[in-house]
Symmetry: none
Subunit: 222 residues, 4 copies
Amino acid sequence: MSEGAGAEVPTATGARARQREQTRSRLVDAAREVFADTPFADVRVGDISARAGVSHGLFYHYFPSKQDVLREVAAQVYQELIESLDVVLERGGTTPLIDRMDVALRRALERHRREARLIAVIEEVSRYDEDVAAIRETVQRKETARIVTLIRDLQRLGRADPGLDAEVAAAALQAMVWELGKRWFVLEDIELDFDHAVAQLARIARNALGLTAGTPEDSLLR
Amino acid sequence: MSEGAGAEVPTATGARARQREQTRSRLVDAAREVFADTPFADVRVGDISARAGVSHGLFYHYFPSKQDVLREVAAQVYQELIESLDVVLERGGTTPLIDRMDVALRRALERHRREARLIAVIEEVSRYDEDVAAIRETVQRKETARIVTLIRDLQRLGRADPGLDAEVAAAALQAMVWELGKRWFVLEDIELDFDHAVAQLARIARNALGLTAGTPEDSLLR
Amino acid sequence: MSEGAGAEVPTATGARARQREQTRSRLVDAAREVFADTPFADVRVGDISARAGVSHGLFYHYFPSKQDVLREVAAQVYQELIESLDVVLERGGTTPLIDRMDVALRRALERHRREARLIAVIEEVSRYDEDVAAIRETVQRKETARIVTLIRDLQRLGRADPGLDAEVAAAALQAMVWELGKRWFVLEDIELDFDHAVAQLARIARNALGLTAGTPEDSLLR
Amino acid sequence: MSEGAGAEVPTATGARARQREQTRSRLVDAAREVFADTPFADVRVGDISARAGVSHGLFYHYFPSKQDVLREVAAQVYQELIESLDVVLERGGTTPLIDRMDVALRRALERHRREARLIAVIEEVSRYDEDVAAIRETVQRKETARIVTLIRDLQRLGRADPGLDAEVAAAALQAMVWELGKRWFVLEDIELDFDHAVAQLARIARNALGLTAGTPEDSLLR
DNA sequence: TATGAATGAGCATTCATTCAT
DNA sequence: TATGAATGAATGCTCATTCAT
């Protein structure tokens, strides 16, 4: 055999670790699906383990409780959320300053369309679970901060209404998107063509900030 | 009949009915308090009857289940919500057209400040209880319709951005208020001076709709 | 009807209270039986409620947990134990001083014969349940104190070995009885004729204390 | 065979056996510690293997169940117990007959002081585990028998109360020691100076048996 | 021999709901 | 109408035990 005998133990360990990681993700993935489908309080641990295809008891080798998986799911979902905005909103990105709000809006709504149900559950639980609350708050604050920076940059360039309190404006725009996401994709109160709605929201946002049209040189402003 | 005069029966019945009504509202009030304090799933029927000062079993003389009281509470809260806006937004009111958005915004936020926790619970439950969902949807649609009308009136008078889809704009502004209410008063992510925030939000809303300043005759536009 | 109408409410309440008390005792009695038969850790709440002939859930209307019924049982058993000795050992009783040890010994062993299994369980649980421990300790200390008094009285009259530390001697005699009770009636290591054994133990106890034979006047010593 | 010389196999096997024995005692030692600390029913196999520093599963290579280690522990503890008395009580020992009871008492109490918690657990379990019961019974019977012999020897020499049934007296004295041991060292009801208590118990025992003082020749009586 | 992932049975506990009084 | 005792279904969680590696 060409593989050294000593290598076997680490390999075995590696296999174990891999196996462990796999089972764990299977549980988290199952939890994501279940949480998206069922009111949090009605989710039984058995639903999750069943969907993951493992025994009931095994759940407890990986998570101490139902709330704990949700924490993991929340972290995951929010991570994805912020990553998808980071690219657009980060200073020094490739999107022209003046267009960033538009692009971010579309990205955010796309993401909400996909994860709206989970987001709603996370928000619900964050009302009484401190850990989940902390995760939610951290991510939302980070997102708000990005928007605040964008608005201030625009104000500094004379492109946005200087009378706006950037903090309030950022919170307001963010709130608009999150709540619309919920009504549109979870509560399904609203029926709109996606592209039309995004275009309109972009217009509303631009109006709200008092954005003035860009000039050719704007592409240089990052 | 050996029992007292026939006249007594209606009186007795009246007393009964009054008593009944009283107990019923005591239960609803107790429920409002409990729901505002406790995650819906954790509320036990016993909590409500205990707070109402009646026996556990009596609850079931009035409501078939926990969800049913919530329906009643939801109807109540939403009724109050819409009434407080109706005065402002109804056509033919005394508030000048151009100022209605401002006033409505303030009113709405005041109401949310007071009932934010209940609103959050109702929204949560409406995700899986059709009846509550129907109540919520009806009221919100009514509110949206009012805003749509206002925006269209403003557009017709050449005071608002004619490029806006009034439906989308109305939904967006409404979403902004409801979500800010939750973050501000329930999740307590946001700390803002109430008057400053209201003024800023009014400015944002005006910008968003592209409202142009009013002229003296505007006070005639209702 | 000769009974006043007003009397009905208290009667009804009385009936309720009686009913409640009855159910409670049924549970306690059932618990006594079960605990005597089954290792404490193996007792399921369901065993108790089943033997009491009530539903599983009803148990929890009366006791917060299995340990709590045991506390009640312990209190009961120990109360009976001490009462059966009190009559003999209390100063001013009718039993001549010199005979008290004999009588007490017989009484105690009779009681142990009847309740040995429960006593063993209580002792076991008192190793890790503070409340049960407190009950056991209180009663045993009281019993020891009685014996100490008896020995001191005998020493004062010159009837018992003055070189004995009454505290140690009392503890030793008490220990002898309790442990023999367990080996004889629970572990069933020992097979003895009851009366013969009691007579022998009385002789051993008298020897141990160095009791000198009584004179006719002794019947006056109480 | 490509693996080393044949001589290695026995050596390897020897090493294996040594290793096996080592792991086994590590488990037994760990069990002793755990059982002394934790109510038997609350001891999990995992506690023992964890304290032994081996994996959970490995436990089952050595013992079929928790009860089985306890059997081993019980055997060990009781073996130590009887050995420490054998030296004193065995006929033909070096201790003068008349002093044996004293010495045995002290030895026994020293042993109990050290192992009281384990003894209590073993006794508890022996109430429902036949194997443990057998171990306990065997040792205690052996101990009783030694005392019976001693008492009979003393009676034969006219040194002890001839009216005593040696069987009952032996059981009574043994019971006294075991139970005092538990109350003193496990339940901690009693607080006594060790030497004082031992001296007193010796006096009580001597009284109980009616032992008369020895003469110089007694040292010859063995 | 050693590991620890996986299984599944078992029990305590809670609580909505009913019903005799 | 009002009470609260009684029911029983539902589910979270633990842990002994097995087994693939």
